[in-house]
Structure formats: C-alpha cells, structure tokens
Subunit: 300 residues, 2 copies
C-alpha cells in the first residue's frame, strides 16, 4: 500500500491540502480559497487537480459541519451553505481512484493529535479541544474516534457554563465558546488591557501576557479557568487519559494550561483527575494531518 495519504481541511474561507507521511509529518502542503459560492463539484475538481500530481494511497477530508461518514456528505453546515447532500466521498474517489474518508474537521484534528502527539497510545480515551474562532472538539474513546449516533459527537464548545453568561454566537448564553473563542478573548482584552496591541489577535494578547502585561494575563486566566470548568465536568463523565488543546489559540500554551490545571487541582473528587495528561502539542495543521491519517486508518 502506498505510504502517503492526502489530507484536505476545508474551511469556510480557505482550504488546506497536504501530503502526509504515516508518522504525521507533512511532506508537501498548500492553501487555496474554498470559494463556497461556486459549489462543491467545482471545489472537488480544483482540489483533485492539485493533489493528482502527488503519490498517495488514500484521501481524507475534514469538513466544518456534521458529516455522514457512509455517504461522505455534509448533513448540516454553518459556513458552506448549499454544500449539504453532495457526496465528497463519491466525487473524490471517482476522480482520484483511491479510498476517500470524510469526517468533521474537529474530529479529524483530534485524531491527528491522538496519533501524532500521543503516539496512538492503545485504548486511550482522549478529549480534544479545538480553540479558534469557534471552540470545538472531538473524542477518542478507548482508541477509536467517537462519532456518535449521527456524527456530531465532540461539540463541546456549546456546553453551558453559566445560564446567564455572555451571549454566544449560537444564540444561547454562557457557552464555553462565549468565554474561550477568539471573539471572547478579544472582547476581554479590550476590557482589561491598558495598551491594546495592534493588530489585536489572540497571538498578540499571548505575547503581551508573556512580557508581563497584567491585563493580558487576566484575560488568559479567565479563558483557562472557563476551559477548566468545562473540561472538569467532562473528566468526571469520561475519565480520560489525556486532554489535547489544538488550534491557533492553543499556542498560548501554559498561559491557558496553568489555569486549567488549577481548576483540576481544586476538584474535591480527585480520582479521575489523577492520570489526566493535559497538553497543547506544538502547532501543526492538525486538520490536514488528522484527515490524512484517518483515511489511512479506514482504508484498512
């Protein structure tokens, strides 16, 4: 079987494509605009034309939405209107002649983190959190990606932390995303930092915190504490071996890990927290890597 796999991480604006080795290293990669208005068939033609030049045995797609793994089509999608129902699995496998796997993008990213950062520790249960504009996630349960009854498992960004908390993009209040998503971080920075960095990004707020800005530190303490509260509940329910923070905002590293650890340390029921390994592995295109590795896994 061919050694390499292709991973395609399809976002609402940009799509990343990569040729991925079995150990998760990215041999080649590039980014193209998704152009959602031109529809999924047009997208598939463009993406397939690019990867055709590569040498690979399978293709994995990560899509930002609910995915029917059997047909490889989108069931529900916030950012790619008009793309539901189209079988990416069929279209890509017809065009490229290899097995194709289609998965939710956060699930794919978490699978990538499990295989690469945790070296696919056998039978491990892993909670993965993707931190970016949105807060999402995925679960590996005893070494297998948990998709759930209809492919929506892992949507931990909309766990309610406070019923009367800040308004979330989803319409409700007090979701984890309303405390730890990019919008929340920037809003908190505006409220707490005396001198705002320009441009104002989570990365800039992290840099300010690391160089001693008290307001910026308070922002990350709040983000980490809220993540810790949400994750503490999931540790009680799932008793995981590990928690992975992935995505751009996870680059804040210990700024966000330290307050999570403090929340965990303050739990009265210690037992399920004892073995949890909490980490924010060095940034990779986890969506690309994970989709590729998942396609490798599923081609058997």
């Amino acid at each position: 079987m061919k050694k390499y796999s292709v991973g395609i991480d399809v976002g609402g604006t940009f799509t990343k494509l990569g040729l991925v080795a079995p150990d998760g290293s990215v041999i080649q990669s590039l980014q193209i605009p998704t152009e959602p208005s031109k529809g999924p068939a047009h997208f598939t033609r463009r993406a397939a034309a690019i990867v055709k030049a590569w040498n690979f045995g399978s293709v994995g797609l990560g899509l930002a939405g609910g995915v029917d793994a059997k047909t490889g089509s989108l069931l529900f999608v916030p950012n790619l209107r008009g793309w539901t129902g189209f079988s990416f699995k069929k279209a890509f496998s017809k065009s490229l002649g290899v097995p194709v796997t289609v998965e939710n993008d956060a699930n794919a990213a978490v699978w990538g983190g499990y295989v690469v950062a945790l070296k696919k520790q056998p039978h491990a249960t892993v909670i993965g959190v993707t931190l970016g504009t949105g807060v999402g996630g995925g679960l590996v349960i005893e070494g297998r990606l948990h998709r759930g009854a209809s492919g929506y498992a892992g949507e931990l960004g909309h766990l309610t932390l406070e019923l009367d908390g800040p308004r979330c993009r989803c319409g409700r209040r007090g979701c984890l995303e309303a405390y730890a998503g990019t919008h929340a971080i920037l809003r908190a920075a505006k409220a707490r930092m005396r001198r705002l960095p320009s441009p104002l990004t989570p990365k800039a707020v992290a840099a300010a915190a690391l160089s001693g800005d008290r307001g910026a530190r308070a922002v990350w303490d709040e983000v980490g504490t809220r993540l810790g509260q949400g994750l503490a509940g999931l540790v009680l329910v799932l008793n995981p071996d590990a928690i992975l923070l992935l995505g751009g905002v996870a680059r804040a590293g210990r700024l966000v890990l330290d307050p999570i650890r403090r929340v965990f340390a303050a739990q009265p029921f210690r037992e399920p927290f004892k073995q949890v390994v909490l980490s924010a592995p060095a940034q990779r295109d986890w969506g690309v890597v994970g989709a590729a590795l998942l396609s490798r896994e599923r081609r058997g």
Copy 2:
C-alpha cells in the same frame, strides 16, 4: 455454558442478590444487610453461602465506588470504609469456582438497562443516569461499557450546573446531584408544597404531583429542567442514541421526562437531539440484573 448468572448489588446498608436469566429476568432474589463494619471477607463468605444453592455460570458484583476491573477490588469508596484493596474477584471465584466480574454499581445498572430496555441495540451510545439519594451514571459507547482510564467514567452527578448553586454533599456548589438527588427533591418539596405528605419521600411527592398538587409539580419541573440542562451538554458532547433514567427516583416517569424533553426542544443546535430516545424503563433491580449480565458478557 450455564444459562444463569448471579448479580450482587452491594450498597452501604443493604446488598441485593439475584439469579438472572440471559434476557435479564430475575429468577430468584433476596436482600441482606451489608454489615460493612465486619469487613469484606466476612461479607464474601455470607454472600457466597447464599448463592451456592443456585445454579449459575458466572457472578457479577456491583460496588458503590471506583473499581479496578482487573483485580476486582475497590479503589475508592465513600460508604464502605476499609473495603478498598480486597479482591472480591479472587475471593468469590475461589469460593464459587466461576468467573467473577466486579464493576461500579451505576455502570452495572446502566449495562443492565442497555441490554434489557434497549435490547442491546448494536453500536449504540447510551447515557445512563441513576437517580436516587445520589445521582450517578454510566456510559455505553458504541455498544461497549465505557469504564475510562481508571474506572470512574459516568460520574455525571457532579457536573456543575451553577457555580453559585446550592451546596452539594461533595463540598462544591451547583452539582446536578444538588438539584436532582433525593435530598434536593425533599428540600424543594418542603419549600413548595402547602401540605407535605407523610412520610415525605420522592415517591410521595410524585404521587402528589400526579394528583394535581401544584407545588409538587413545580418540584418535578425543577428537577427535570436541571437534569435536562446537564444532559443537554452531554448530548452535544456524546451524540447518544438513547438516554436511560434508572433508579428509584426515575419512577417519577413523565413528571421528570417531560421537562427534560422541553429543555432538549429549546436547544438552538437541533441535530444531535433528533435521534435521542429518552426513557425511564419500568423499575427493576438494574444493579443486580446489570452485574449478572456483565459477568455473562465478560466470561466470553
């Protein structure tokens, strides 16, 4: 292989023992005092002496605490002090000469509900909630009991619903148990019912609600709403096929199911709620049934 299995549900005060058929029906059963102060070896001798008269191929124990499934001993236990470290697996298999399985009691009960009430629907993901003095639970993930990294999975009674909510027995505030455990139900009944039933039990509060007592109805609405809030988060994370309410308080049936359904219907993100089957199956000794069926499962 012998058709029947023995299930033993060990509580802090009483222990139930039953001879269970493969379909989960209880052929024979009885209850003995646990007598925790006399220690686990004494308990094992008494229990073994009773079941010896029966004809069975395996024994399953459900224990109220964290269980090491390999050694079949308690790791952590709130109500059976001094019982940790004793290998029930070794002691019972030596005494009875059959394979013995030891499991957390809520996990066992949920397994029983999955096999009997859900007819062991293949690959199903099930959230089970045990409602009684404490609120506990267990998870079946794609048809397998999820124990977690150290056997504590399913502890959903201590999910935090409100950081500044009512004090919980665990020392924290706002846990699901602090809203839906027996103590919370009776406290709410005292606050809301004009004429208190005597004796004041969850069963009596349910009877009052069914005969039109407004205060009693408000109690169950609150309990169900809080359960719905906790469960809604878990539906987002686990995308289950079914939710089972088990245990004495689950006999309140639609009094508690209806408000949960209302909370689910009000969720903005509908998809993971669509297929969820929510039920409170008719009361059985789920701990006994589940422990017996699990031992049958694990003997191969």
